[in-house]
Amino acid sequence: MITQATNYRRRKLVDYGMRGLTIGATVLALIPLVLILSYVVFRGAGALNIAFFTQAYEPPVVGLDGEVGNAGGVLHGIIGSLIIVGIALIMALPIGILAGVFLAEYPSNSVATVVRFCTDVLSAAPSIVIGVAAYVLIVQRTHQFSALAGSVALAVLMVPVITRTTEEILKLVPHTMREAAMALGAPKWWQTLTVVLPTAMSGIMTGVLLAFARATGETAPLLLTVLGNNNVSVKLLEPMAALPLLTYKYTDTPFPAQNTLAWGTALVLTLLVLTVNLSVRWATRSRTK
């Protein structure tokens, strides 16, 4: 026979209380996120029109009625961001993933310890510091602000994120799978290439996306390296525009039309990261079914 314990009511209450706390904390965490996102959409959606996506910077004109109009668009920023971040990704991806493989597959040697420590320091470094380094090492030496310098700075920011996620994910691949490959006569590098990496691919991609999202939104290093450009430019060795730079620049102007552009840019930046995120997730979803 099952009788109700004397503390049954108390247990129930504690259960409700705890569940309430976790739900409350989740809601609390979601509030700023939802507020920011919806405000960006609310303010930014109005800026999105054909001109926004097809024009570069246009000088503001004051209309006959005294209103400031003709804000132009951010095409130069969209193209610039894609180029700068794309090149940064091309530089950071192989270095980050290979370093992650090294840390995970050959963990117990002194080089790995040093690499791991440096990666941790690097991932905690403020982005402006990286920007200053790129400025001194590249911009000052070449006497030229350039998109390439910006890509290098962003790549330096991306590498530690990619390296550490790759390492963590590879460590999660069951040891038994490596054993199975080893027992079939696969050399270590072949095990890693054909069994470990494919198994961990979707996890590694998550790390790459984190790095991509972080780099896309970075402003400080770009200020010191790519500088900005009012025109559409695809020349890697010259200053280039970038979305975060435009958000920064247009927020800080007296013209309301340009302020609206800043919101639009923020929205596009958010959507860009979201789209890339979702599409990569879709492309690397686990095919277990």
Binding site: L184, G185, T288
Partner: protein, 288 residues
Amino acid sequence: MSEARLLTNTNSLRRNVAVGALVREREHTDTLAHKLEAKNFNFYYGTFQALSDISMVMREHSITAIIGPSGCGKSTLLRAINRMHDQTPGARGNGQLMLDGQNIYGPETDAVLLRRRIGMVFQRPNVFAKSIFDNIAYGLRIAGWHDRKQLAARVEQCLRQAALWDEVKDRLHSSALGLSGGQQQRLCIARAIAPRPEVLLMDEPCSALDPIATLKVEELMLELRREYTIVIVTHNMQQAARASDETAFMLMDPATRSGQLIEFGPTNRIFTNPQDKRTEDYVTGQFG
């Protein structure tokens, strides 16, 4: 008892009889060549001696079972045969462990090439997150097979041998992770035999399987015996008695905690007329 259950019972009985008959064919194994031979073999994890002074033979085209309680070193011995410990820091073997007269732990032996001659099936199914076809083709591709037709033929042949073909023939290219545990284990066996190794090591291959799947694996072993040398570690004494030609009984030395070979001989004799009191206690269930 329902008719269906009766039928299953009779079927498995029949299987038992068949398995028994196959084993009985092989009472005298002493004429078979020594495929593997351990002579005073020791194995260490750092300073800890896990195996001491193992001397035994594993004959070509026969099934050698290694039995003993947990911690007696039987898995260590099995994994030492294809140098699976190589990645473990501090693990090393000394003494002689020979494959066709060549010392496995000799300086001239390449572990990767060694493992292409010695296949292994593990305790838990460890399929790759790849398609069924690619799982089996993995070892073949390592061995340099690239012709699609030849690959497909061998994959089918191995799946048939592992009694899995009928269950998976329509979904060769879907993920192996979608198979049940028993199917995955048979897939692992098919994968291990695909490159035609000379020796097949099995580390408690049936411990995660139900009795029916276990019987299927045992039947498979008896069939594979014609082509391969099989060494199986098992906790299940009935399995050793049913499906092996020779049996090695191991125990952990209580003083040094290192594994020792207590008795080695034809399975029949180990189970009916053991020479050592400890073997007798173990096989009659009065121990461990």
